[in-house]
Amino acid sequence: MTAPLRLCVRRGPEKEAASPTIRVALTLPSDIDVIEETVELLALHAFAGRIPAQRTRFRFRVTLAEALANAIQCGNGGDPDQPVHVELHLTEETIRVQVTDRGTGFDTDHTTDPTDPDTLEYPCGRGLFIIRHLTDHVEFNDQGNTIWMTLPRS
């Protein structure tokens, strides 16, 4: 056999990726001990097939952990029988995280500043502040038992 002679190379139709939105959903019990595992599990899906910036991964993990802690403790009052529902809506560029609890919600317009010198040594009150600063966008439903956070995927 002599060296084969290349005649032609054809490529099949390569459609411009329609980039569908992928939804990833998960329901967890109101138990703070499952937060860490849930965050790691969802991070796998949020960045499936990608190598995001270290910072992006950090922002995702911290803000999701915060939102889950609020849903479990404030929303569901830590009652393990009350579920928390999480969904990720993944597009090419962004991750939209939705966390819903079974609670009655709260006044989501009322914000406090934990960096105020008067309250700087308080042990609580930094969760939503961190969420607002580490996400690109935050929204709540009217009732206040669903939070939507938008984050980058890269």
């Binding site: 056999m1 002599t2 060296a3 084969p4 002679l5 290349r6 005649l7 032609c8 190379v9 054809r10 490529r11 099949g12 139709p13």
Partner: protein, 111 residues
């Protein structure tokens, strides 16, 4: 998927299938072999070394191609299949329709 065609020194048309051979692209393979037949090619080797997976339409396309090649008095062989690909031919009993060789080099030498 990408198809590339080469002709060996002994006149065998080697069609290399890179990626998936599935419903969305099987027509390309059919067209390519038909053109080669028209140009007088009679011995074909389908190189599956870099083939990912094949679906039932891809298998169907290979069956159709094999028939056409035989109708022209030609011969077609497959080579370079991994274990998974091979299992598809065994499962569907298409291994009785195709001569399936080992490596491309070996199959070319045996042709």
């Amino acid at each position: 998927m990408a198809l590339s065609v080469a002709t060996s020194g002994s006149g065998i048309t080697i069609v290399r299938v890179e990626g998936q051979l599935i419903v969305g692209n099987r027509q390309e393979l059919k067209a390519l072999v038909t053109e080669s037949l028209d140009r007088g090619g009679r011995k074909f080797l389908i190189d599956c070394t870099d083939t990912g997976y094949i679906d039932s339409s891809g298998l169907g396309a290979l069956v159709t191609i094999a028939k056409k090649v035989r109708e022209h008095g030609g011969e077609i062989r497959l080579a370079g299949l991994n274990e998974d690909l091979r299992s598809l031919f065994t499962l569907t009993k298409l291994d009785s329709l195709f001569e399936i060789g080992e490596t491309v080099e070996q199959t070319l030498a045996d042709f």
